[in-house]
Symmetry: none
Subunit: 419 residues, 2 copies
Amino acid sequence: MIGEIIAIGDELTSGRILNTNSRFAAGHLFTAGHEIVAMATVGDTAVEIGSALKRALNRADFVIVIGGLGPTSDDCTNEAVSLALDRPATLHPEILEKIQPEPIDGPDREGHNLEKLAWLPAGAEVLKPESMMAGYLLVHAEKPLFFLPGIPHQMKDLMADRVIPRLALWQGGPARHVIQRVFKVFGLPETEINQKLLHLEEMDEKIRLGYYPVFPDVHVSLTVIDNNTRAAAREKFDHAAQTIQDTLADFIYGADDDSMATAVGRLLLARGKTLAVAESCTGGLIAHKLTSVSGSSDYFAGGVVAYSNGLKEHYLDVASELLEKFGAVSAPVARAMAGGIRRRTGTDIGVAVTGVAGPTGGSREKPVGTVYFGLAAEDKEETFKFHFTGNRRQVQEISAQTGLDLVRRLLLDKISKEK
Amino acid sequence: MIGEIIAIGDELTSGRILNTNSRFAAGHLFTAGHEIVAMATVGDTAVEIGSALKRALNRADFVIVIGGLGPTSDDCTNEAVSLALDRPATLHPEILEKIQPEPIDGPDREGHNLEKLAWLPAGAEVLKPESMMAGYLLVHAEKPLFFLPGIPHQMKDLMADRVIPRLALWQGGPARHVIQRVFKVFGLPETEINQKLLHLEEMDEKIRLGYYPVFPDVHVSLTVIDNNTRAAAREKFDHAAQTIQDTLADFIYGADDDSMATAVGRLLLARGKTLAVAESCTGGLIAHKLTSVSGSSDYFAGGVVAYSNGLKEHYLDVASELLEKFGAVSAPVARAMAGGIRRRTGTDIGVAVTGVAGPTGGSREKPVGTVYFGLAAEDKEETFKFHFTGNRRQVQEISAQTGLDLVRRLLLDKISKEK
C-alpha cells in the first residue's frame, strides 16, 4: 500500500528536535512492503495539520500522523482532525475513567486539561485501550488514518504492535506473504557487508535486503515477499537467511530483538559462566548494557568503574608500578584490571577496558580512540588493542560493544588475537 | 519570512537515513527569525518533487530544496524543476570546465554522468561558483528558491554562508527578533508545569511556550518573537525567563545543552567536591551518565556496580547481617552502600541506589519500581525512598536521574527528606 507520514510539532519545524519518529515509521513500513510517497512535517497549527491531512488523503492509501495528542495547550491534532474531516469531538468515557478515577465536581483546572485526552474525533478507535497511551485509528473515505503519540517509545510500540499488523490485514490487492528477519552485525562496515551480499540481492527480485547502520552495529534486514504460497516464500527465505548466515558468519551476533547484551547473556547462561567488568573509559556503559537485560543477575555479578587510578589500585589490585611504567591506557594495565576483577569477584570471566575516549587526553603515542581490552578466564588471559574514530560518545559506545563482543567470541571459542 | 523546506531522496522515504539536513536548516532559519510553515520529504521522483515545489511556492515566501543534485541516475531534482517551473535545462560552461578539464572525445559514460552537474534550470545562479559544490538560487514568481546538495557538510556550509545572508537582505516584511531558551526540568509532571505557566502564555501572544516530555525530564521552551526592536524582545524575554525560573525554581536543573550530568559536574567543580557511586539496580547508568561528560575525571572517581550481594559486602563493606535482616532493597543497605563507597574511595560525596527495576523481583512489600537512595557526605547521611512506574528501562533511567538530582540538591543545600 502507498502511505504518507505526517509529523506534527513546533519543536520539529523550529529545528529544535530531530525527527526520528518519521524515519522509524518509514523504515518499518518500507520493510513491511509498503511505499511511502511523502513525509510532511508541520507545526502545532490546526489549519496546517488539517490541510496536510486532506492532501495526504488525496494521494495515499493510508496515513500515519505522529504527535500533538498530548494534554498540554499546544497539542491540537485532535482539534485539527475534527475540523478538517468534520468529525466532532466525542467523549470516550473509558479513557476518562483511567485518567480521572474521581468524578469532576467543579471547574478543576487540572481535570480539564487531562480530560482533553478523552475527547477524540468521532469514529476514533483507541489503538491500545488497555494502556495509558494516546493513539487511535480513524477510517475516513475508506482509508485507515493512524494517529500516534509523539513520544518515541510509545510511537514505536504502537507502530510495531498495532499499525503494521492492522495494515497487513487491510483489504488491498492480492495476498502477499511477507517474511522478514533483521540480522544484527558488529565489526564489519556497511559497504563491506553490502559487497558480500550483493549477489543475493541480484538473484531474485522477491528477495529484498536493507542495510541500516545503527551505530556501532549494522542491521541487515532480509525481506521475502511472495504473491504465491506461504511455503514458497518460506523456502526462498530460509535459503537466503542461510546464505547471509554463512557469508557473515560470527560477525552476526543475533537477530530481530537481540542486542549484544542479550546475546552475551544467553551464551553465559548456556555455558553456566559468570561475568564481572572493570571499566575505565567506558565508565559504566558495559555494566549498564548488561543490566538493562532482565534476569542478568543470573550471570552478571557487577563490576568496578575505575575511572581514577586510585580505584584501579584499590579495587582491582593494579600495581602502581604498572600504572607508572606503562600508563593507565596500556595492555599490561588492561590485563591486570581483567585479572583483578575476576579474582576479586570470584567470577568465571573478567573483562576490562581502558582507553582515551577524548576529546582531550590523547597523545602522539596514544591518540584519542586508542582503547585496550583485557580478558581473563580460567585458562587464559588476553589483551587487545583497537583504534576507534568518532566523538567521545561514539568511542565509548563502540568500546563497550567491543568489550561485550570479545566476551561473546571467548564463549564461542572464536577469539582472534590483536587486531 | 515564511519558508518551507523540501528534502529529497528515496533513502529518506524508505527510512534508511535520518533526515538531519531539514532539522539543521530549520534550526538556523528559525534562529535567524524566519518561520518554517512546513517541511516535506519526497522520494527521487520528478513528478512528486515538482508538485511539492509548486505547493510550497503557493504558501511560502521562500523555499529550501535539499538533495537530488548529484551525478547519479537517481538524482532528478534539476529535471523536476525544469518541468514544474518551465525552465529548460541550460548549460553552465564554467561548471563543465571544472568537472571536465579535458574535452570529451567519445561516448565516455563517466563524463556524461558528470556533465549532468553543469545543466541547471534556466535562470539558476550558482551559489558558490568558486567551489566544487552543487547548489543554486532560482528566483521564481519573485520568491527565492534555494537548491542545496544533500551532502550534510556542503548543505551546512551553503546554508550558513549563502542562504541565511541572502535571505537577510531579501525584501520581505518587517524584521523579526527571536530569542529562545530551553529549560530542563526534572521531578514535575508535564501537566503540572503547564498549569503553573499557563498565565505566562496567556499574557502575551509574543511569548510562546512549548512542553516536551523527554523521559524522564520535561523540556520547556520559551520563545519570544518581536517585530519591533531587539531590545523590546530582550526585555520581554528576560521577564518571562525570570518568571519561569521563579515558578519552577530548583526543579529546573539547567538550560539548552545542559544535561543532569553536566549540571551536577558544574556544581561539583564549583564546590571543589569529588563524587563516587554505588549502583545496584541502575547497573552502571549513573556512572555512564557522569562519564559521558568530557572532563568528568576532575570530579568523578568512579564506583562500584554491586549487582550481587557478594559485591556489596566485598567492595562496599555492607554487613551481611544488614542484607539478611532488611534485604538488599532497603534504606539501611542504601545508607551503608553510600557510606561504604565514600569511605573506600576517599571522595567527598557518595551516592547509592538499590531497588527493584523489574519486571521480576517485586514483592508485596517491595513492588517493582521501589527504589532506595543513600547519600553520604562529610556532615550527613540520608536515605530516600521512591516508587517509580514504568518498564525496566524507564525505572533504571528515572532512578539514575533521581540519584544525580539528589547529589545536585545536596550541593545546592536543598535536600528535602523522604518523599
